[in-house]
Symmetry: C2
Subunit: 456 residues, 2 copies
Amino acid sequence: MSLLDLLRTSLPADRVVLDPDIVATYHHDEAEWAPYGAPLVVVRPRTADEVQTVVRACLAHETPVVTRGAGTGLSGGANATAGCVVIALDGMNAIVEIDQLERYAVVQPGVINDDLRAACAEHGLWYPPDPASSPWSTIGGNVATNAGGLCCVKYGVTRDYVLGMQVVTGTGDLVRLGHKTAKGVAGYDLAGLMVGSEGTLGIITEITVKLRPLQDPQRTVAGYFDSIVDAGRAVSAVAAAGLTPSALELIDRQCLVAVDAWKNMGLSVDANVVLLGRVDTPGLIGDQEAEKMHACFSEAGATWAAVSTDAEEADALFAARRLAYPAMERLGPVLTEDVCVPKKHVPEMLSRIEQIGIEFGTTIANIAHAGDGNLHPLLITPRDDDEARRRAQAAFATIIDAALELGGTVTGEHGVGLLKKDGLVQELDPVVLNMHRAVKAALDPQGILNPGKVFS
Amino acid sequence: MSLLDLLRTSLPADRVVLDPDIVATYHHDEAEWAPYGAPLVVVRPRTADEVQTVVRACLAHETPVVTRGAGTGLSGGANATAGCVVIALDGMNAIVEIDQLERYAVVQPGVINDDLRAACAEHGLWYPPDPASSPWSTIGGNVATNAGGLCCVKYGVTRDYVLGMQVVTGTGDLVRLGHKTAKGVAGYDLAGLMVGSEGTLGIITEITVKLRPLQDPQRTVAGYFDSIVDAGRAVSAVAAAGLTPSALELIDRQCLVAVDAWKNMGLSVDANVVLLGRVDTPGLIGDQEAEKMHACFSEAGATWAAVSTDAEEADALFAARRLAYPAMERLGPVLTEDVCVPKKHVPEMLSRIEQIGIEFGTTIANIAHAGDGNLHPLLITPRDDDEARRRAQAAFATIIDAALELGGTVTGEHGVGLLKKDGLVQELDPVVLNMHRAVKAALDPQGILNPGKVFS
């Protein structure tokens, strides 16, 4: 029996998608210029058993499986390959359980990040990881890439919240990894190994995440700067002052103008760079920390800085931060960087990015989780301009070189996917790459799980 | 050339220890009744290169390597096997770097936990993981077992603080895993995989740990209870009240009496069980939380409870908690449990432990990281009483059964070693055990790293 027939006979009819118009929407994620092929079929399972059925069928037919959530990835990790089976988990979007006492949630992988956050809030609980894509991206995708976000500077990344999971393995078994208790060291941390493995070691069908009590109210500190390097100096100053902001975001004028052009939020300001800091320490101590952050901004050369007393204004600024990427995308293809450098090197790295833009004649806008040293230069090119594309790609590679030179990493939170495969080879010792290959072969002996992603 | 000659010719003379009296001190860790054998030799390397030299020699001679730090483990994970080479890393105890701005420390594996904490404090920084063994145990050992401690209930376990490491692999290579930046998702989380792998996947020669700003001052809430089940109810009440204590420890009368008998601290109290809670939330909010915890204790049936205003008294109580295990050891062999159950099942689990003690005629004292649901029943037997030993071992196995029945894990923070190997088989799906074997074979293809530990 052909694989297609096998899938059709073993799954409910609506799970198997062949309509070319619909299939086309599952070809690739949001990574610009990352290669992709046409899949044989898209399957939209509704249960873990159905996922297992698909994997077993693919094992029998030696056909690669590419798993995806909402497809908001920025590295090509979810891109289909020619003839593969795409498993789209966006339909598995149930919040199975929220346990208020134990402070965990059990969710299917297709749950949208913001939906989980809203459901937790009803129980007085908080799921911190908040990638800028939180209104669209899924928890499964967040786990697959170990997504970060705005709050990481104080509250860590997705990895820090994953307690356990259910996984369909590369051998077609359905297993549970990790634990639901507060602690647990029984055996290897295979659940942790799955986090950030971009669908190459297993397919996650359920996730148990740790929750925190609801976040305390935040104060917002905004600062305007003439130069991106001044803003970078303010970021270093905040770290040097011993502050732990609950967010510290950088947005440059190009992004704000693009957001205004799209949403007419009236944000265009007399500044080339805006820094947005937040402090959620309760009480007077938090007020003092906000004032300290304000002083750091001023001393680093802010042309204007203030502790905002207007929650609406502050929320608008953070909404603009979240909209920056889609707003830039409206202007043309955007190649998104994701380097992360030591905090002390943020000014130097921002300066190098500026130079690289000039050197390659590429427009580079900047958003950054600056407090983490996690920078997202956005390389924007005119549509259908191959020469500009090549220059942007060269600039992209040069930014990676610079980040590695400064002791950084090629990807802070987006994952390797396809766009950072060369970067990974630069970053890792060849022996460590071989360790990756050995682990991959151990857990996916037939090599059917998202082959060709992360490393070759 | 024999392995011994190879080691003697390739290492400085003082690294190779053959004196049987000294070698005997490296035979086993502190796990009671876990088997061990006489090693061929003990090597005490001073550098990563020397560790690599030893591993390569052992690979050439197909000889198992057992790595250990201070030997304070409680599961037998560091026990020597007959004819093995013991690599003792207690001499590699340099704090290489503390970076105040980036908030990390780079340490050799033999650094004592308390020494790192003291060094960090001088920079206004804090390394939270604080196993009760912190005055003696090493960071390397803490990482190898993913050690927990008193602060985990709020601040997480060792895994949450490991950014990166240098490792000698099972193939004798010296590599770096992980990163020093705040975020990083370049490739699989192999550094995380090493945490808790108990020396079976690699030998850690350097560790980079994340640090936090110094902890805020803590308030201590003490409560006395007539029964351990009442105390367990207080623990559940604290969780249900939405509190996040910075510690929540349980000590029973047997432990306090044993500490007094040893150290004459004058702690014997009119209580069968003492609960010690701590709150480090700053300011008024923290004061309110301490009062709330006090109310939880009282409502659960505390015969006496108070928010302590006497720091010395509070420190003495926590010192007693840390001394409980060595104090009990003075009375006879102690078999130490380490089960972890959901918080809501703490009263039920404590009640079952009490029943099991009666059923098997075994004296069971209790200390617990109660706020985590991580319980350490201590099974104490008279010396040289084989019958009592067998009953204690049967009670030990029955406690594991009960923890698994309640949705718990066989080991919260001590690791599997030898004592929990059967428990691991009970806890994990056979497919997951096979995943462990596959990963082990991938990273230690010759099977020389601590073979026979964790799983067979």
